[in-house]
């Protein structure tokens, strides 16, 4: 009886993954590997051990580890502030911290370029001040640029997942430790961090996988000297047209992701405990002393400057024309770039005004939120409740797979597999949200599970003794208790859909471009005007994304939001 019930919960998410993930992926892998001739398979496997590929693999792991550690280092203190302290402008700060996450890699690269590039604001200012001929700061095409961009991108994951869990952690556990003679540091190390570990591990896994499969950042900010597995897949497939090699590397990348997720799953089961979660209003307090207030302000300031400066540089760039050459450049304020957006100068067939791109993006995002939350809630609920069941242990890593799959591979798979009966979705407006849901799904699941697992079993038992059916228990206990996590998940789904580029570029219909696609089109065209228009549209994308996130933050589903 119980097993059958669990199976019903699994049905929808599994069917979804089967049709829209495994089928297209299997299709593209089969097509690629099908081109292998006799005897080539062994040579292919041997080439996996070549120094080039070995270097790629170790670089991929190395940069991902370093990026993840730095993201945690900066993110955990920030998560503490968000979780435990009341301060003015917190909602705004949270919304701001989420913006980098929704920006397409191209825009982030452009933002760092606008700030630190050879003709970026910092170099321009330094050259002017010190009368230099050459830009003094080398940022583009360095390892530092890659790491900085990764931290910039992923900081919000740590802030949100850990911050949300921390804000519900019973503060009396830390108080008990202090009364027993532990200093603040000892309490942090022995009580708070161990209890936070499930959330930290979940956030770290997501960040690591993102860095591990990084593509755009490496390509645009790292330059040709650096290659991750994903970049290598792209080279092999597009430049060398070595599809069998690309497919093999895609499988290797998938395997790595699967292995990491499996390790995480094992650890997480041992880490999570039944915690009495507390409503936010019991756990938050004002910053008490001047020293705490000062260090909090410094930290927030640091994060703020780190996140906002490149974005501001980008936004300012969209309003300014640089006339003349280095040394005696003049800056002119202008609205031309925005005005030009609605003018189809080149008479392009696929021209779309910004209003269309915004409407298309928002529509796709809304559909993605609905799909991802519905499926994700079912899957994470089944996982959290039947934690030890064989089915759960097998399926948990499976749910994380889409994260480790390159968007490019997935997009190709959609094109190859979903364009013929019985599943001809080429013309369907659902195709893009389906792809976005695949990417968002692991985020939704990972955001929901720590909260769901921490609900005391006694609460559910109490509810069923009081006459609640399993479905009522879910509606009246689980759902309200994971309300915050649900909002976090919704934010993830929304932002991922708004910013997704790799898969969308391959499957979106040209007459209905999303905002990132439109930006990409402008970036691909030469000239200052097109560059300015790309900056203008990127600025619009920032506005739409932060507006959407603020709206979700305010959106309260009948009491669900507060606790």
């Amino acid at each position: 009886m119980k097993l059958r019930y669990a199976f019903l919960l699994w049905l929808a998410p599994l069917a979804f993954l089967g049709i829209f993930y495994f089928y297209p992926l299997g299709n593209i892998l089969a097509v690629s590997l099908g081109r292998l001739r006799e005897g080539e398979a062994l040579a292919l496997l041997r080439s996996l051990l070549s120094p080039t590929i070995q270097r790629v693999v170790s670089f991929t792991f190395g940069q991902a580890t370093l990026s993840t550690l730095l993201t945690l280092l900066l993110g955990l203190p920030g998560a503490y502030l968000i979780a435990r302290c009341e301060f003015r402008g917190k909602a705004l700060f949270q919304a701001l911290s989420g913006i980098p996450f929704v920006l397409p890699t191209l825009v982030v690269a452009a933002a760092f370029n606008a700030l630190l590039g050879p003709r970026g604001w910092v170099n321009l200012a330094l050259m002017d001040w010190l009368s230099l001929r050459q830009p003094p700061i080398q940022f583009l095409n360095t390892f530092t640029a890659i790491i900085v961009a990764h931290v910039f991108y992923n900081l919000t994951i740590v802030l949100r997942i850990v911050g949300d869990f921390w804000s519900h952690l019973d503060p009396r556990l830390a108080q008990a430790s202090q009364v027993l003679g532990a200093s603040r540091l000892q309490t942090l190390l022995r009580v708070t961090l161990p209890l936070l570990l499930p959330a930290i591990a979940a956030a770290a896994l997501l960040v690591f996988i993102f860095d591990f499969t990084s593509f755009g950042v490496i390509l645009v900010l790292g330059g040709p000297r650096f290659a991750t597995l994903e970049v290598e897949i792209y080279y092999q497939a597009i430049s060398l047209f070595n599809l069998p090699m690309a497919a093999t590397l895609a499988l290797l990348q998938l395997f790595c992701t699967l292995a990491m997720t499996a390790i995480y799953t094992r650890l997480a089961a041992g880490l999570s405990r039944p915690l009495g979660l507390r409503p936010r209003r019991f756990t938050q307090r004002r910053l008490a002393t001047w020293s705490i207030r000062l260090s909090a302000t410094l930290l927030l300031g640091l994060i703020f400057v780190f996140l906002v400066t490149p974005l501001a540089a980008l936004a300012v760039r969209s309003f300014i024309r640089v006339d003349g050459s280095a040394g005696d450049a003049t800056l002119v304020w202008t609205l031309d770039y925005y005005r030009e957006l609605s003018i189809n100068r080149r008479g392009s067939l696929f021209f779309a005004p910004p209003s269309t791109a915004i409407a298309v993006s928002l529509g796709y995002a809304a559909a993605t939120v609905v799909l991802a939350l519905g499926l994700g809630l079912l899957a994470s609920w089944a996982l959290a409740r039947h934690e030890s069941a064989l089915l759960s242990r097998l399926l948990d890593p499976l749910l994380m797979l889409p994260l480790g799959t390159s968007a490019v591979t997935l997009g190709l798979g959609f094109i190859v597999a979903l364009d013929q009966p019985p599943l001809d979705l080429r013309a369907s407006p659902l195709l893009v949200p389906l792809a976005h849901t695949l990417v968002a799904f692991p985020f939704v699941v990972r955001s929901l599970i720590p909260s769901l697992r921490s609900i005391r079993p006694r609460l559910r038992q109490a509810a069923s003794v009081l006459g609640a059916s399993p479905r009522q228990v879910m509606r009246t206990i689980d759902l309200p208790l994971v309300g915050r996590a649900l909002l976090v998940a919704a934010t993830f789904a929304f932002t991922i859909s708004i910013g997704e580029f790799g898969a969308t570029a391959l499957i979106a219909r040209p007459e209905y471009p999303t905002i990132p696609i439109a930006i990409y089109r402008y970036l691909g065209l030469p000239g200052a005007l097109n560059y300015g228009q790309a900056m203008a549209l990127s600025t619009i994308l920032m506005g739409v994304a932060s507006g959407g996130m603020l709206a979700i933050e305010r959106f309260r589903i009948a009491e669900v939001g507060e606790f």
């Binding site: 009396r172 108080q175 008990a176 009364v179 027993l180 003679g181 200093s183 000892q186 008490a288």
Partner: protein, 349 residues
């Protein structure tokens, strides 16, 4: 208060927004003494504990130990113990590690540590529980582990915040006497917070009754019961026969006129007063220097006593009568007899 030894609490205030949780409370706890903070929920007693433990900072006022101010001493350096209302056991540690936590923080030598934990487990009658997972313990076991954890590091002052609140009555009664025995045998200075007067009376050497952030009365259980300092304390002790009246002086004392009748009382009173008719100082057989005619409305059996509701001149009054006394059936008339010195008390507030 006691500026010399033990805990001194002097005129402390704490506000949370509009709520004045603690509004000028002063008291002291002598070494070896168990003091109960008694009051209804929301009266500020838990906040007072948090202030003494250093988890909150008072807006005004001073907390001291042996005459030295604790203003700038953080919680972990105060050497106090606090047992939380729902225990706050660390869910990621077993029983042994929970109890050893405070010892490790106090840098107890490793060879003494295991010994001390066993000693504590023995003390709370849970020998051999060290390896158990705290998430699987029953309520009573969790309570005792929490007690062992807070007693382990030998705190100068142990604070217990409604430690028996969530347990069943039988277990509670047994644990109250266990707890008092343990605390007294260790000569432990302690503050015991509760909303239950039976618990407070059974545990404490002295009881401080709190109401709306203020201290209403601080004295031994006997004095608080026999001479409640205010109508609030009287009502909290379950004495509900409080009659509004007008007092006038009379040769040899005063007379209070109430809806029930005129009563002679000792002392000089004038104007509006409230008269307490103690529920336990009345006999149903009419023997005594004062008498009241009434009719029995109902009688609920409480073991050795029964609580009788008796209507006197249209006013229902409650009395605790010995179950062995002969009562007429409900609805019948009877005469109450009592001595004014024992049964009456006048409040001018």
């Amino acid at each position: 208060m006691n500026q010399g030894f033990g805990l001194g609490v002097d005129q402390i205030h704490k506000r949370f927004g509009d709520i004045h949780a603690v509004a000028g409370v002063s008291f002291g706890v002598f070494p070896g003494e168990v003091l109960a903070l008694l009051g209804p929920s929301g009266c500020g007693k838990s906040t007072a504990l948090a202030l003494i433990a250093g988890l909150e900072r008072p807006d005004r006022g001073e907390i001291s130990w042996d005459g030295r101010s604790l203003r700038d001493v953080p919680p972990h350096e105060r050497g106090f113990g606090l047992m939380f209302q729902d225990y706050a056991l660390f869910p990621h540690m077993n029983v042994f590690d929970n109890i050893a936590y405070g010892l490790r923080m106090g840098r107890w030598p490793t060879d003494r540590l295991g010994e001390r934990v066993d000693e504590m487990l023995e003390l709370v009658s849970l020998p051999g529980f060290g390896h158990r997972d705290v998430n699987t313990l029953s309520g009573g076991e969790q309570q005792r582990v929490a007690l062992a954890r807070s007693l382990g590091p030998e705190p100068r002052l142990l604070m217990l915040d409604e430690p028996l609140g969530s347990l069943d009555r039988n277990l509670r009664e047994r644990l109250v006497s266990d707890l008092r025995r343990i605390l007294k045998s260790m000569h432990q200075t302690a503050i015991y917070v509760t909303h239950d007067q039976d618990e407070a009376f059974a545990m404490a050497d002295r009881v401080a009754v709190m109401n709306a952030g203020r201290l209403e009365q601080l004295d031994t259980p006997q004095v608080i019961y026999s001479h409640p300092a205010s109508t609030f304390v009287a009502r909290f002790m379950g004495m509900t026969n409080l009659l509004e009246g007008i007092a006038r002086t009379d040769p040899g004392g005063s007379v209070v006129e109430t809806a029930v009748g005129e009563f002679p009382v000792e002392g000089q009173f004038q104007g509006k007063v409230i008269l307490l008719l103690r529920p336990d100082a009345v006999r149903p057989d009419g023997v005594g220097s004062l008498r009241l005619p009434g009719s029995l409305l109902s009688c609920s059996f409480r073991g050795s006593t029964c609580q009788a509701t008796i209507e006197v001149r249209g006013v229902p009054l409650k009395f605790d009568l010995l179950s062995s006394s002969a009562l007429p059936p409900p609805g019948e008339l009877l005469t109450l007899g009592f001595e004014p010195g024992e049964a009456l008390q006048v409040f001018t507030n």
